[in-house]
């Protein structure tokens, strides 16, 4: 056996181990067979319903009250709640804090910005993008949100 053979075999073995490791993670993800998107949308609507008071206050621009409600509801595990909290913080001029929560929410659920989901937040995200486009400090958030909205390279 030549030296390069050992190199190729090492890569082969490492890749097999890596594939088993990540393959096991994929195996543990449950893939819904029937109408997964419908279920995702429904689940998002249920979350929206739970947060309806918070949404109402946010719509009326009563941001401090909105935060109080969201804190009481403990939205740590609810991407829609996280998004709303981030959006409200952003509107209260706590931009970085707000954007970081929005980023976390978008990472957790792509239904939030799915164009087919009727209550998606794309318009709000577009507005945020326009507002932060000239702020160099917020560049990383801009590109993150852009990459989610664009759905591809660039």
């Amino acid at each position: 056996m030549k030296k390069t053979d050992y190199f190729v075999i090492a890569i082969l073995l490492l890749s097999i181990f890596g594939t088993i490791y990540y393959g096991y993670q994929i195996y543990n993800i449950s893939f819904e067979q029937e109408d997964p998107r419908g279920k995702e949308y429904l689940s998002m609507e249920i979350k929206r319903n739970q947060l309806s008071h918070a949404f109402r206050y946010a719509k009326e621009r009563q941001y401090e009250e909105t935060v109080l409600i969201l804190d009481q509801l403990n939205v740590k595990d609810n991407p829609l709640g996280l998004y709303l909290k981030g959006y409200v913080f952003y509107k209260m001029n706590k931009k970085e804090e707000g954007l970081s929560l929005i980023k976390e929410a978008l990472q957790r659920s792509n239904t939030l910005y799915d164009i087919h989901y009727p209550n998606n937040v794309r318009n709000e995200l577009e507005e945020i993008l326009t507002e932060i486009s000239k702020d160099e400090r917020l560049n990383s958030y801009r590109h993150f949100i852009e990459s989610k909205l664009k759905g591809g390279c660039g």
Partner: protein
């Protein structure tokens, strides 16, 4: 300097300048020319995936191939050729797109990203050169290259099928009869003016066919032949794109907040390592496969089909990385690529020993 070296460097400069200009005039940021991204758009336009933000029959794909085809015809270099190892070529095209998607960009975009000030692409550059080096070492120590080397055959009409299809699809897309869907928003909707894209792409196709320019080929030649022309050409590609970006104030040097990039350096490194390694084995990066497709190289045409399928997989299985890093499917895709090409290498090694 020999004429061919001059044209080799000229091709690199054209790709750098036009790549930057196309991005400035409408293509996505740092994505003036990116074969893997454009293949995803192309696959979307052919309805191979349903991401409505990534559907556009990119004229760059069409007219780079057409430019190469015309140049090959005029120079009487249109030679139908094929080798027995067409499956590795198909898989090579497929996994080069998977690797590029995990990095977010083909080897050309890698340099265009750096020219835009995106320092995260350095991990990819190191990975690509390391992959090319590993491929060269494997080739040098004995691989059955006979089955990989295309031989000239007589069936000219078969070799014409793909270039003609690409041209026809391009013409149909330009006439906008609704046959191919086009994104209304997202990356697929970001496009340079059609005429500009066509002119630049034809020039790139013609010069690259003449000079045989290839990003991974440049690195390979420099590593094997100790020929500096390859590295000089790559530097010129980067430098010319950088100067255009500088002129239009589009340089934003940094690591964070770069368009179409992520900071998962390890995955950037190994994904382009895979691309570099495969490109050495199948003789050309995704861009070079387009050029060779236009020349009648049926292995490259098979590779083109592999790239198209890879692009559909990238979108359908969320393999494409985003600003937060590679996805689980992306990681596993790259690893499977390594397994397959390690096996292909060992097999080719065995045949060589025999």
């Amino acid at each position: 300097m020999r004429l061919n070296s001059f044209f080799y460097m000229l091709s690199a400069i054209f790709i750098g300048v036009f790549g930057s200009l196309l991005s400035i005039y409408g293509n996505p940021l740092n994505t003036g020319i990116c074969i893997s991204c454009f293949m995803e758009n192309y696959a979307g336009a052919l309805r191979l995936h349903n991401n409505i933000f990534m559907q556009y029959l990119r004229p760059e794909i069409t007219f780079i191939t057409v430019g190469s085809f015309l140049s090959a015809l005029i120079r009487k270099e249109f030679k139908p050729r094929i080798s027995p190892a067409f499956i590795p070529y198909f898989l090579g095209g497929f996994f080069m797109i998977i690797g590029s998607a995990v990095f977010i960009g083909c080897p050309i975009k890698m340099l265009l990203r750096l020219a835009g000030g995106d320092l995260t692409s350095i991990a990819g550059i190191v990975g690509l050169v390391a992959g090319v080096y590993a491929g060269v070492k494997v080739l040098q120590t004995g691989v059955d290259t006979v089955s990989f080397t295309p031989k000239v055959v007589s069936n000219r009409s078969t070799a014409l099928l793909l270039p003609v299809f690409i041209l026809l699809a391009g013409v149909l897309a330009v006439t906008k009869n609704g046959l191919f869907p086009e994104s209304l928003s997202g990356a697929g909707a970001e496009k340079a003016p059609l005429l500009l894209a066509i002119i630049f792409s034809v020039i790139i196709g013609v010069t690259s066919q003449y000079s045989r320019f290839c990003v991974t080929g440049s690195a390979r030649n420099s590593l094997i032949l100790r020929n500096v022309i390859g590295f000089v050409a790559l530097f010129l590609l980067f430098f010319s794109a950088f100067m255009v970006n500088l002129f239009f104030k589009k340089v934003n040097i940094g690591v964070y907040g770069q368009p179409g990039s992520h900071t998962a350096y390890f995955w950037s490194f190994i994904s382009l390592f895979l691309v570099g390694y495969i490109a050495v084995l199948i003789d050309g990066c995704p861009f070079r496969q387009l050029i060779k497709s236009g020349e009648g190289d049926m292995n490259a045409q098979i590779s083109f089909l592999g790239m198209l399928l890879g692009a559909a997989f990238v979108q359908n299985f969320t393999i494409l990385s985003d600003a937060s890093g590679p996805t689980l499917f992306g990681k596993i895709g790259v690893l499977i690529g390594f397994i397959i090409f390690a096996v292909i290498t060992l097999e080719a090694r065995k045949n060589s020993d025999a």
